[in-house]
């Protein structure tokens, strides 16, 4: 359960204050599939970063699963990210010198999961995403679609309850993009909350809930 009440985020750039988010009130239930659309600079990424605890609101309160996470310190927030949140980025963000398998294993290593359990989960994920043959390949030896599959596998390795995807198809062709969206949508069937930022109205239209942002505000919501 994600609850944002009266959340604003502003940046000070060269002495001027830029409001990226203005008084956002938003609640997203567990297992929801939400898409966020809107013009460039409307605050979509900023909103996603706040939800993902990569950024803090300038004002307002953010409650995750009932707890006020805005009040947490760096270490506590990192723990919440590790346990509850998975990220999928437009530019994949894989570690270039690590193999596909090690990239997937990374959150598990950081969380201190025992080696046996790690091996088991990574093997399972490689299998789920059809990457078993590519396990030892480095990111530069993978296609864009494969890279994003590695990224999704990594994002789900800790079984997060919230998956945040910021334009995950932005660097992919249409067919591959569709494939990636399918993989993400499959996750929503397992009670994972999926929040997807996209510029593609076709992709955005598939979500149960569609938010439209302009100038730091949610101007309309469509529920289907």
């Amino acid at each position: 359960m994600i609850q944002l009440s009266d959340v604003s985020r502003s940046f000070v750039v060269g002495g001027q204050t830029v409001s990226a988010l203005r008084n956002i009130d938003l609640s997203i239930a567990d297992g929801d599939y939400v898409s966020i659309m809107g013009p460039s600079g409307s605050g979509k990424s900023t909103l996603l970063n706040l939800i993902g605890l990569l950024d803090r609101p300038s004002s307002g309160i953010y409650k995750l699963d009932g707890g006020n996470v805005t009040a947490l310190n760096d270490e506590q927030q990192a723990r919440v990210r590790s346990e509850k949140i998975g990220f999928v980025f437009q530019s994949f963000h894989l570690v270039p010198r690590l193999s596909a398998a090690m990239n997937i294993e990374l959150p598990l290593i950081l969380a201190g999961i025992p080696v046996d359990e790690r091996r088991r989960r990574v093997a399972q994920l490689l299998d789920n995403y059809g990457l078993t043959e590519r396990a030892d390949h480095r990111p530069d030896q993978l296609s864009g679609g494969q890279r994003q599959r590695v990224a999704i596998a990594r994002a789900t390795s800790m079984h997060p309850s919230v998956l945040l995807a910021d334009e995950p198809t932005g660097n992919l062709d249409q067919a591959t993009g569709r494939e990636v969206i399918n993989l993400l949508e499959q996750l929503t069937e397992q009670q994972v909350t999926l929040i997807l930022v996209t510029h593609d109205p076709v992709i955005g239209g598939r979500a149960k809930r569609q938010l439209h942002m302009v100038d730091g505000q949610i101007i309309s919501q469509i529920e289907s």
Partner: protein
């Protein structure tokens, strides 16, 4: 995150930039190796000098003519400058002390030695029968100078091993006559081969009775008196007695210098230890430089891996963990560097030991310890800042690569 995983992650990161890693390890290991090799040389020189001294004799008190102005041991004494004579009777008088066991007066000169058509320049040492015991000499053939009246100028001589082989080839010259300057001497003994010790190569000297040497060189003074105390405990008493006796004989004038060999040794020991320390210290500077290099490399690594740091944060790594990761990388670098350096250094010491077998080279343990401590210390110290910088990055800006 498990400790082993941290180390493994750091190791993989280092492998990611192989050239840079190797260069760092090289810089670090050269520093460590330099400390090890240079201090080993210094220590080798120190031990060499100590060995040389003890081969000269034990429980020795040395008497030089003349007195240097300053207290302690100056170069003048060791070179044996002669401002006022020390006589053979002075030497004999020393036996009155109950702490003195044996004495060996020494006079030195150089002369031409010839046998038939062969001749060469030699150092001639004038002394007495006790010289052999006092100076730990060993005889190869024949006998040493005859005991008895020190004023007797018998025409006998003992040859160094090399002199013998030059004049007589493989044969022993014992019994033969040789000419020293304008006098004839009968060879009564040959020293066994000993090689160089404290600048005197006993293989290339000729020893004659001190009175004969005085006649040969037309002098009456002594170059030095070697006094052997009866035991280790009586060295100090022997020194005091020697001073008292000699000052009394010289009408209270303090015109001789009396030092114990231990005091000379201690001075050399101090000088060479200080030298080793200084040389080691200079080498240690290169370690500090290597540490600064590591800092720069880590800073570059931080700026090159901004996105990765952002990612690690997004994946749930708190600032402390990022710090640990970068810190571990630096520790691993300097750790591998110092181990490599130790291996290279010890190998270098082995090579030197092979090339110069007479030099007892060995890196002192404190230098090895200091080298490793300095390299690890600088590696750790200089990685703190880059690690902090990495940890302080804002995840959103870091992910954007800004």
């Amino acid at each position: 995150m498990r400790y082993l995983d941290v180390v493994q992650f750091a190791a993989v990161s280092l492998q990611g930039s192989r050239t840079r890693t190797l260069l760092m390890i090289l810089a670090m290991s050269i520093g460590v190796a330099a400390v090890v090799v240079l201090t080993a040389l210094g220590e080798g020189a120190r031990r060499y000098v100590i060995n040389q001294f003890s081969s000269l004799g034990t429980n020795l008190v040395l008497v030089f003519p003349g007195r240097t102005e300053t207290a302690g041991i100056g170069p003048g004494m060791l070179l044996g400058q002669i401002p006022r004579e020390l006589s053979l009777d002075d030497a004999e008088a020393l036996l009155r002390s109950r702490s003195v066991g044996r004495i060996a007066p020494l006079t030195v000169g150089s002369s031409q030695i010839s046998k038939d058509a062969k001749n060469r320049e030699v150092i001639v040492l004038g002394s007495t029968a006790d010289l052999m015991t006092v100076r730990h000499m060993t005889l190869g053939r024949g006998r040493f100078l005859p005991p008895g009246d020190v004023h007797a100028s018998e025409s006998v001589c003992v040859l160094g091993a090399k002199i013998n082989s030059e004049l007589f080839g493989k044969e022993s010259g014992v019994g033969a006559w040789v000419r020293l300057g304008d006098r004839r001497f009968r060879v009564i003994g040959i020293l066994s081969r000993q090689g160089e010790s404290m600048g005197f190569n006993t293989d290339e000297i000729v020893i004659v009775p001190v009175a004969s040497a005085h006649m040969l060189f037309n002098t009456s003074g002594l170059f030095r008196i070697l006094v052997e105390a009866k035991s280790r405990d009586s060295i100090e008493q022997a020194r005091k007695d020697t001073e008292t006796i000699l000052f009394a004989r010289h009408n209270g004038e303090k015109d001789v210098t009396v030092v114990t060999q231990d005091a000379v040794l201690a001075t050399f020991d101090r000088i060479l230890r200080a030298l080793t320390l200084a040389v080691g210290g200079i080498a240690a500077i290169s370690l500090a430089v290597a540490g600064i290099l590591i800092m720069n490399v880590m800073l570059i690594a931080v700026s090159q891996r901004v996105q990765e740091i952002g990612l690690l944060k997004a994946l749930g790594a708190p600032a402390a963990k990022i710090r640990t990761l970068f810190f571990t990388e630096a520790v691993l670098l300097s750790g591998i560097g110092s181990i490599t350096g130790l291996v290279i250094g010890e190998a270098g010491v082995l090579v030197i030991a092979r090339l110069y077998p007479s030099l007892p080279v060995a890196a002192p343990w404190w230098a090895v310890l200091a080298a490793v401590a300095t390299s690890l210390g600088t590696g750790i110290l200089f990685s703190v800042w880059p690690a902090r910088r990495a940890a302080q990055l804002d995840p959103v800006t870091a992910l954007a690569g800004r």
